[in-house]
């Protein structure tokens, strides 16, 4: 399968993170890079600008900016040419999907199909063949897995934002090692500890962020929330929210509820969980049991 990778305003983080896919060298044998910003490729960027044929998947990384010139011609022109040619278009990372961080750095900056959560008209004719792979960066397993499934012509169910459900039907909360502190409403959290949940005070968005960060571990070994860092909601159209390290509150309760959970249901459950005040959750995990 022939792949063309085009970068708009990007940090290259998605291009790099793909290289962390376990045994990437073997995986990529099934693909040909017509162009990739780091890897040996069939064509130079100049050739891509002049026009090449045979693109099957167009991969776009980075925020689009009105009038951006790649080298000698507008990026928009390249996108149109290769989006028409390709069978599939992958917007890789939150910048290419929703606009992301760099959309905040200037006027007329957005993702390919979205500005935040709002659908755009410009490339609407390509929407049906577009797949959204947000994340800052995307997990390598998500990008490599999506490409492999497309290559095998396997079914790839998508949600309404065209994110593959296999990866984005979960929340980042699923699989977090701090889950018990959330379930039993232990709302004190201090950085530098194994214990505690960052939902209540420190801005964790894991319970309402679509992603597989705690299901498919990062670099095969860990995740941000396991390591005590709040989920920043980096796969969502709202990324980056203001005040990423603090939890916005409404009447003393976190303003955003876990995905699909009505506030009343949350409050009822929280009241019951708190009433039990289970002692184990107030003790350090590694404390001496006799102590």
């Amino acid at each position: 399968m022939r792949l063309l990778w085009l970068s708009a305003l990007a940090c290259n983080g998605n291009a790099h993170t793909l290289l962390n896919y376990p045994d990437f060298e073997r995986w990529q044998e099934g693909f040909e890079w017509l162009y990739h910003p780091l890897l040996p490729s069939t064509h130079t960027l100049l050739e891509v600008e002049e026009g090449i044929d045979g693109v099957e998947v167009l991969i776009v990384e980075g925020t689009l900016e009105e009038g951006m010139i790649k080298n000698s011609i507008p990026l928009q022109y390249l996108l149109e040419r290769y989006a028409s040619q390709a069978k599939w278009i992958l917007t890789v990372g939150t910048c290419a999907t929703f606009g992301g961080i760099f959309a905040r750095g200037g006027e007329d900056r957005n993702g390919v199909h979205f500005s935040g959560g709002e659908r755009l008209e410009e490339f609407a004719e390509f929407w049906e063949k577009s797949i959204s792979l947000p994340g800052c960066p995307v997990q390598p397993e998500i990008l490599a897995g999506t490409l492999s499934l497309l290559k095998e012509a396997s079914p790839l169910p998508l949600d309404r934002m065209h994110r593959p459900k296999y990866f984005y039907a979960y929340t980042v909360h699923d699989g977090c090692t701090r889950n018990e502190y959330f379930e039993y409403k232990i709302d004190e959290h201090r950085f530098g500890r194994l214990e505690g949940c960052m939902f209540y005070e420190h801005g964790c968005q894991g319970t309402f962020t679509h992603g597989s960060c705690n299901k498919i571990l990062w670099n095969g070994v860990n995740s941000k929330t396991r390591a005590g860092q709040p989920c920043m909601g980096c796969t969502e159209p709202t990324f980056p929210r203001e005040g990423l390290w603090r939890t916005p509150k409404h009447m003393g309760i976190p303003a955003r509820m876990p995905l699909g959970v009505p506030r009343r249901a949350y409050l009822s459950l929280a009241g019951i969980a708190k009433a039990f005040n289970i002692e184990r959750f107030h003790r350090p995990l590694l404390e001496d049991e006799d102590g």
Binding site: E25, C136, G220
Partner: protein
């Protein structure tokens, strides 16, 4: 006859254009142009200071961790008398050093070897980089783009099991270095001072350096022979003009300047250009093999390429020492109290490509101004024909048949950092 040639340089974390001015087949001047900027400093203005921890790693996909550490140091500078534990400091040093390691492997195999027309399997670039990424993730949650360092220390807690896994992979990195780069005891390589001894070993480094000698390129790419290093940790701060070393530096003399026609601002110390990065670090800390290369070939592409690879065994040794020093009984995070509403702070880091400086000023609890000065701005900044920048000087004088792209890329150019 005067002639101008515009060349697109790609695969440098983005692209750059170089406009070469030739006279009688020789480069008389080269303008280095970067077309696009994301304006990260603008994005930070008005935000909660802690948001910088999350946004700044996104400056760069290959050295974003250095931007995190520079950010947290700048933010910590805003607190009076804040001290973090030795444990937190050492853990940050571990993850930062690993980012340098993965960068150097990728650069050597993906950028330099192809320009020398040497082939090596892709796994030689990717396997060590992947292992380094796993090691960072063990301590920091993920790589790239973690934000695990925050004022007061680090977000989470580290257990002996994490360090076990870490140490296990460190052995792997040592093995990979010997298997791929140069087959010699790491400690012996750090102290090696004879070029011929290195050239006589097996591995891709001796192969690459022999190729440069065979082609007669070892003196190409000489620049101003002026070096600067601000950061600490494994490296020592100082500046070196040729081999004359001065240890005292004053950040007040660092100035950024807008250059028309490019998105890259240039930066100078007391109005003079300096090279930063592995060659500068090796000159300031007097790495024997690099000093010897410099004695023969000055600050040429030979010396510059060698200097970057010579950092790998040093970094591995540093990781080993840090691991032995870590006392897990100490606090991972010490509460620094609430963020001051008016403050200023500076954070300095030795990143893969050299000294990285972040400056922040806080007003009414929000970021008022944020300034990022990246290593590539030192090396790639545009001067004038009378007063050329570092990479410009390295390109001047090259003939049409000379490897201009290799000279340019010997600086390990990062387009996204340069413009940020």
């Amino acid at each position: 006859m005067a002639e101008i040639r515009l060349e697109l340089i790609e695969k440098i974390e983005g692209e750059a254009q170089v406009r070469y001015h030739y006279e009688e087949g020789q480069v008389t001047f080269a303008e280095i142009l970067f077309l696009n900027s994301r304006h990260i400093e603008r994005i930070l203005r008005g935000r909660d200071p802690l948001d910088a921890l999350s946004i700044n790693p996104r400056v760069c996909g290959i050295c974003g961790h250095a931007h995190l550490i520079a950010t947290v140091r700048a933010l910590e500078g805003c607190f009076e008398g804040l001290r973090i534990s030795d444990k937190a400091r050492n853990i940050r040093e571990l993850t930062l050093s690993l980012e340098l390691l993965q960068n150097h492997f990728k650069w050597f195999y993906l950028t330099i070897l192809p320009l020398l027309e040497l082939e090596a399997p892709l796994e030689r670039a990717l396997e060590p980089a992947r292992v380094a990424g796993e090691m960072i993730a063990l301590l920091a949650g993920q790589y790239p783009h973690t934000s695990y360092a925050l004022p007061g220390g680090i977000c989470g807690e580290i257990t002996p099991v994490d360090l076990l896994e870490f140490r296990h992979r460190l052995r792997r990195l040592q093995t990979l270095f010997r298997r791929y780069i140069v087959d010699v005891e790491l400690e012996a390589f750090v102290h090696c001072e004879r070029i011929e001894e290195m050239l006589g070993k097996s591995g891709d480094l001796p192969k690459a350096m022999r190729r440069i000698l065979d082609r007669g390129w070892e003196r190409l790419g000489q620049s101003h022979d002026r070096f600067i290093v601000f950061g600490e940790g494994l490296f020592h701060p100082g500046k070196s003009v040729g081999t004359r070393l001065r240890e005292h530096l004053d950040l007040r003399y660092v100035r950024e300047e807008i250059v028309p026609g490019t998105q890259a601002r240039k930066v100078a110390y007391r109005d003079r250009p300096y090279e930063t990065g592995p060659l500068a670090r090796a000159m300031v800390m007097k790495t024997p093999l690099v000093k010897e290369a410099h004695r023969r070939y000055r600050d040429s592409l030979f010396t510059r390429i060698l200097a970057r690879i010579c950092e790998i065994p040093r970094l591995i040794g540093y990781l080993d020492r840090l691991l032995k020093e870590i006392d897990l009984a100490q606090e991972a995070w010490i509460d620094p109290g609430s963020f001051p509403s008016e403050a200023e702070g500076t954070g300095i880091v030795e990143a893969a490509r050299g000294s990285l400086i972040h400056r922040v000023s806080i007003r009414e609890g929000r970021i008022r101004e944020y300034e990022i000065i990246t290593p590539t701005q030192w090396n790639l900044g545009n001067g004038t024909p009378e007063d050329p920048g570092v990479a410009q000087q390295a390109l001047i004088g090259l003939r049409r048949e000379d490897p201009t792209e290799l000279v340019f890329k010997s600086f390990d150019v990062c387009s996204v950092c340069t413009t940020h």
